[in-house]
Structure formats: C-alpha cells, structure tokens
Amino acid sequence: MLKTILKRIVQCIPTLFIVVTFTFILTRAIPGNPAQTLLGPQATAEDIAAMEIKLGLDQPKWKQYIDYMGDVLHGDFGTSYMYNQPVLELIGQRIGPTLQITLTALIIALIIGVGVGMFSALHQYSAFDYIFMVLALVGVSMPIFWLGMMLVNFFSVNLGLLPVSGRGDIANGLWDVISHMILPCLCLCTIPMATFARITRSSMLEVIRSDSIKALRARGISERSVIFKHALKNALPPIITVLGLQLASCFTGAILTENIFSWPGLGTMIVNGINNRDYMLIQGMVLFFAMVFVVINLIVDLVYMVINPRVSYEGGGA
C-alpha cells in the first residue's frame, strides 16, 4: 500500500516538470517583446536593450529555460509588471476570495447534488426522478457565463434584490457579504450539482441492486441504516472522483464567473493579465493553476486508493 502511494507521488514529478516546460514554451510564444511592454511605447532602444539584459532576455533560450527552472524550484514565480509585485504574493492576496466562492459552491453542490441523486435512485422512474434528471442534464449543459448574466438580469436589474458585482464588506454586516456571494455561488454550483446528482444516482442504483444490500435487507436491518450506513458508503468512490474533478473545474469556472460578477479573485486577475500582456503574471498563474490541478489529482487518487483498495496502480492502467 505504502509503496503504491509513494509510487503515485513520484509519478507527479515528471508531470510537474512537463508542466513547467509547457508554461515556459507557451509564454515565450506570446507575440511581442516583454521589455517593450514593460517600458511602454516611449522607451528608447537603449532602454529596451538594458531591460532585456535585466530580464535575461538576451540570453539564449536554453539558458533562459534553465534559469526559469531554477527560479521556479526556489519558489520564485516572477514579478508582475502591472501590479509591480511578486506573482506568488498576488496569488496569496487573491486566492481567498476565489476559495470563498468555489468552496461554498462546491459544498452546496455536494449536499444538494448527492441528496437529489440518492432520492432519484431510491425512487427510480418516479415523476421526481424524471424531473430531477432532466434538470441535471440541463445543468450539465449550462453555459455558466450565460446563466450568470441571466441571474444578474433577473435578480439585480429586474427585481433589484441582489448586488450586481463586487465582494461586499463585512463592515456593512453579514448580509452584505452573503448577498454578494449568492449569485456567483449559484452560478458556480450549477454544473457540479448536476454532475453530483447524476453520478450519485447511477452509483447508488448499482449498489442497491447488489447482493450485499439484498442480504442486509433480508436480515431485517432498518431501511435507513441500509441506505445511509451501507449503500451510501459503497456508492462513494465514484462520487469522490467526481468531487476532485469538480473542485478542479470550479477553479476554471471561477475564471468565467468572477469575470461576470467582477469578483476580486484569481479569475479576474488572470483575465486582466492576459488583456494587458503581463507575461510574468500569465506565466506564474498558469503554472500555479496547473500545479493545483496536479495536486488535486494526486489527492483524489490517494483518497480513492484508501477507500477502494481494489484499485491497483501497478501495470498498465490508464
């Protein structure tokens, strides 16, 4: 077991190495001269040359690559020229608001999604089951940026109930914070909720048809105990996998959601960075997001191994 876990952790190293390499290649391929962008259109040729030396852009590409690797290993993700601050520091400031909506949305999605999925599975082919599953399919197909705009239009423009944008301030009371969170979270939790409902339903259906559950029922164990103690536990592995994937896609969804609601998180910052050609910021944030993904995948696999010992990572599994 320990060996398998260690092996899985070691597998991350080449992936991370490739991630850093990709990030380097991608950001170097962005057209334009970073030194020129940094200094503005009025800069003289000498200034630009001096800046290129300072940024190490005069070096051959392979030397730049090695330097970049070294910097990343030392935890230096570069400095944003737009904010004039180290990228990691900026990420540190912005990650709070992003986690605030992604985690809230994910928890709401998990509770409602799994609940609905279980209900549907236990009442298979009932009217509720059909309605929930049609809704879930619509949810999975939802372009969330459109949903966000429709929510703004309905709740903020038409009804004037909820604020359109921003994060609110705890100084104005708890409601100010919550009211600013409602629409972004609603927008962000749609896809995960629908996905949880679908996966929980199918996983539960498989489990409650199994012999072990029939045996438990035959022994006269209460229905509640059969469902919540035994069936749910056995239905968990696929839900855990999806949880990891959804956490990762919530981070991605935050890029779009934050953009609609002007939420001051990582998503708005990276879109700003791209629009202003802030190379270092783009490079640092892409790398950061990719690393978060690698770590989330690792954790999902490890948790999966612990709760489902049948999984083997030996041999040629994909």
Binding site: I255, I260, V286
Partner: protein, 306 residues
C-alpha cells in the same frame, strides 16, 4: 436414441428455414445500433436537436431574414417582434435572429473542427502509446498528463493569446486542449484490444505494425470514440462561447454564439434580449449533443450504462 435426435433436427429444419431466418433477421435488425438508438427516446430528442442545428447552419443564407452584418442605427435595441425583427436587434440595429442563424455556422464549425483536430492527433498518439508501450508510452502519456494538468479554458486562453484571434485559431485552441482526453481513451482501448486472439492471429501471419494498428485495432476503438466525440462537441461549443465571451475568441463583426453573448454582456441593462436568446441557442445545442452522446453510449457500451 440417435435416430430420434436426428429426427428432431429434421423437424425443426423443415419447420424452420423460412420463418427461422425471418426471425433471425428481425432480431438482428432489432439489435443493430441504429434501432437501439431509435428506441432510446432521449437520444432521439438529442439527434433531432442536433439535426435541426446543423440544418440551420448549412442553410443559413436561405433561412436568415436579414443580412447579419447590415447596420441600421434607427432600429438599435429593437425589442423582439418590433419592426418585423422576430428576436429584435442588437446595439447597432443588426437583426438578432439572422446573427444567431449565421452564428450557428461559426460555432458549429469551431466545435466540429476542434473535435476533429483533437480526435486525429489524440487517436494517433493514443494508438502509438498503447500499441508500442514501454518508453514511447511513458513519454507520450506523461506529456498528455502534463497537458491535462492545465485547466482547459486557461490553456485555450493562453493559446489564443499566442495565436491571435481568428476562426482557425479558435479551432486549434479548442482542439489542442482536447487532445489528451482522446489519447487516454484510445490508449486504454488499445491496451485491451492488442492482446485479443484475433490480434495475436494477425501477428502470427506477420502483419505489419501499420496494418495492425489501422485495420485491426483502430476500427475496434470506434465505439468509445464516437461517444467521446459527441460529448466533446458539446464541450467545444461551450469553450468557443467562453473564449469569445472573454474577448479572446471570435471577434466582431463576425457572428458566433459566443461573440453575440459578449455583445449582450455590455447591453444587459438596456437590451437583455441579446444575451438571452443567443444563450438559449447555446444551451439547447449543447443539451442536444449531450443527450445524443449519452444515448449513443448506452447503445454502444452497455457496460457504461448510467
């Protein structure tokens, strides 16, 4: 005893041939993928939606009531139904319905194109990795893992920054992000198929690697690929819309569902119908592809039945 058995066979034979064959044919027909799909109601709804959207895209010039780029400042922000504009007009008086109809061309082109790009490259890499195994497999799959580690939309955003915005580049950006998933699906399949009896037989006869890969292995990976591609198109439509929405995809004056939505974002207060209707088209189309994909999966791969 033996005689009796022979007699029994003779009787079924005499009774059988004609009606038996008829029965067998009927059963075969009922079991074919198409008739299974026909019996799956939700899949048929999906197929109908997809067909309608493709029809709209192909015959856009005949269906659109107005020129999608014709500006008419007097009719700016016209509400749905005003002056004969069924879905109203946008901020510079262009007919919204015509723009959405023409936009379906770009959106579907990007979605199909992106999926084809991802499919071709992904399938090739998956075939090679799965078939040859060893160091080749490790290298290809580690690179795929690395690519999968980038959040899809972020990778597409950076690619658009690198490539510059044009329809072709959006196809590339949407496609490149999807390569790893195709490669993984195919590699997994190849792993199973290459050890099947018929592959061993082919190997014994001395079939070349290329022939082995393309005539014996590839056709047997088709079912999961069709499922994957159908669902992939749904994702690609959303990706195009998301990129355009962020201002990195299709840009004005070309109409795509995403670029109309982006315009709608700016005029949400004054003309909410712009965003509303273009989004509904995206939602319905994506829903159609998802329904169809789910249905095809149920038919082609009963093991994965949800």
């Amino acid at each position: 005893m033996k005689k009796k058995q022979n007699m029994g066979e003779a009787i079924t034979d005499a009774l059988g041939t004609a009606s038996n064959e008829e029965l067998l044919k009927k059963e075969r027909r009922a079991n074919s993928a198409w008739s299974k799909l026909k019996r799956n109601k939700t899949a048929m709804v999906g197929l109908i939606i997809v067909c309608i959207m493709i029809f709209i895209a192909v015959f856009a010039p005949l269906l659109a009531p107005y020129d999608p780029t014709a500006i008419s400042p007097l009719e700016a922000y016209a509400r749905p139904g005003e002056n004969g504009h069924i879905l109203g007009c946008d901020h510079i008086g262009r007919d919204l319905l015509s723009r959405i109809i023409y936009g379906s061309r770009v959106s579907l082109l990007v979605a199909f194109g992106g999926t084809v790009v991802a499919g071709i490259i992904g399938v090739l890499l998956g075939l090679i990795a799965g078939y040859f195994g060893g160091i080749v497999d490790s290298i290809i799959m580690r690179i795929m893992d690395g690519m999968l580690s980038f959040p899809y939309i972020l990778l597409a955003m950076v690619l658009m920054t690198v490539l510059g915005s044009s329809i072709f580049n959006v196809i590339l950006a949407v496609g490149i992000g999807n390569i790893p998933s195709f490669a993984r699906v195919v590699r997994g399949e190849v792993h199973i198929i290459k050890n099947e009896e018929y592959c061993n037989a082919a190997r014994v006869i001395g079939v070349s690697n290329a022939r082995m890969l393309f005539t014996h292995i590839l056709p047997n990976t088709i079912s999961p690929l069709i499922v994957y591609a159908t669902l992939g198109i749904a994702g690609a439509i959303i990706s195009e819309a998301a990129l355009s929405f962020l201002g990195l995809g299709i840009s004005e004056p070309t109409a795509s569902w995403g670029s109309i939505l982006q315009t709608g974002k700016f005029y949400l207060n004054t003309a909410p119908h712009i965003a509303t209707y273009s989004g509904i088209f995206i939602l319905i189309t994506v829903l159609g592809f998802n329904l169809l994909g789910d249905g095809v999966r149920d038919v082609l791969d009963p093991k994965m039945k949800k």
